[in-house]
């Protein structure tokens, strides 16, 4: 699959209206988010670099990845986000970089996309609910943003926050968890090459229900750690609060590494249902990324630090 996609010099003012974009599903033929169809930009090519971190497993069909979502701000049923996020405004969008950095700043999508070349990363994605998919993400390593942000030595953790707009997310009131959604990573986890800032999937810009326009993808952890629709990245000294840990401290830990040996209090994590398969398959430690990440947790009791 060759994807032509340019990190652009086109400003957001030239973005095609979202309704037009939604009717032109398919590979992006031209520049950055949503700018379709102008003859002048139709031939500009972009390279999405293939990554050695991609799995060779078969990606889950696009319809599954985009219609089976946990994005409780838009409703708690799996089919809710794809229905209710249709008009979610993702342009203009900014991400605030704050906390223990030498220079706090606010980046718009143009600036974010200039940080590093876009890569295709085909990752396994394992939900804490014991289902899993394989997603061909497009994004750039989180560590590139961290290096650009230049955190101070006092920064030990990276905290993330999603957008919470009750007007656009009326279903969020009934979600049962606190918003805005927050998450966090230890600094070494955040700097790990596998940690991705996702901006697209299947050769396209992220659909709204998948956490547009920019989200985290941490494939060795349960899916709820991969926070969607990021508006704030804050470098902090102490372990930051995380939404699901607040909702259920005995059930959802800060680390939440995929681990078949540590069950959820209410169900086993030893197996998972790969969407599209009939029988459950054994869950792999660190979601199959043990070789790359196990070292981060050497000497840690993974049952206590679940």
């Amino acid at each position: 699959m060759s994807i032509s996609w340019k990190i652009s010099d086109l400003p957001y003012s030239s973005v095609t209206p979202k309704s037009v974009y939604l009717n032109r599903r398919g590979f992006l033929a031209s520049v950055a988010f949503g700018a379709f169809g102008s003859a002048a930009i139709a031939n500009t090519k972009l390279n999405v670099v293939k990554s050695k971190f991609s799995t060779t497993e078969q990606p889950t069909p696009y319809e599954g990845v985009t219609n089976y979502n946990n994005f409780y701000e838009f409703g708690t049923a799996k089919s809710d986000p794809s229905h209710n996020a249709k008009n979610f405004r993702t342009i203009p969008w900014t991400v605030a970089i704050e906390g223990a950095v030498s220079k706090p700043q606010v980046l718009d999508l143009d600036s974010l996309l200039k940080i590093a070349p876009l890569e295709e990363r085909i990752y396994r994605h394992r939900c804490v609910e014991a289902w899993s998919i394989v997603v061909p993400w497009i994004g750039f390593p989180l560590n590139a943003l961290i290096k650009a942000a230049n955190p101070l030595s006092s920064a030990k953790y990276v905290a993330f926050q999603s957008l919470y707009d009750p007007k656009q997310m009326p279903q969020g009131r009934y979600a049962g968890i606190q918003f805005p959604y927050v998450e966090g990573l230890r600094m070494d986890e955040a700097m790990h090459p596998l940690a991705l800032l996702g901006v697209g999937l299947y050769g396209e810009v992220l659909p709204n229900q998948n956490g547009a326009p920019i989200r985290l993808v941490v494939p060795w952890k349960y899916g709820f750690k991969s926070i969607k629709s990021i508006v704030k990245i804050r470098f902090v000294e102490k372990q930051p609060p995380t939404t699901w840990n607040i909702a259920g401290p005995g059930e959802y830990g800060f680390y939440s590494n995929v681990n078949p040996e540590v069950d959820h209090p209410r169900w086993s994590q030893a197996k998972e249902r790969r969407l599209g398969e009939f029988l459950k398959r054994p869950t792999l430690k660190f979601n199959g990324y043990a070789d790359q990440v196990a070292g981060l947790y050497a000497g840690m009791d993974l049952r206590k630090n679940f």
Partner: protein, 83 residues
């Protein structure tokens, strides 16, 4: 209501599920959907079965009691599907 008619009505949830399966409208995780649907209907049949005697008085439908055993067995049926 005649017992045969009641039997067919109780089969409607299964027919609805079968229709969706045939139209490939079971979503990204079909096993989960079938599990939830059969579980939901097992619960509904159980509740109806337990309420039959009272409902038959309140609604003045004494013949409702004649299908009580069938409703209970359908609760078991959907529960077996669920399992």
């Amino acid at each position: 209501m005649d017992e045969a008619e009641a039997f067919l009505v109780c089969l409607l949830p299964l027919a609805a599920l079968g229709w969706r399966a045939w139209k490939q409208d079971l979503g990204a995780n079909p096993i989960e959907l079938i599990t939830h649907a059969s579980g939901d209907w097992a619960m509904r049949f159980l509740h109806i079965t337990l309420a039959v005697m009272q409902l038959s008085k309140v609604l003045s439908m004494p013949r409702f009691t004649l299908v009580r055993r069938m409703l209970g067995l359908f609760a078991l049926f959907y529960e077996c599907l669920h399992f």
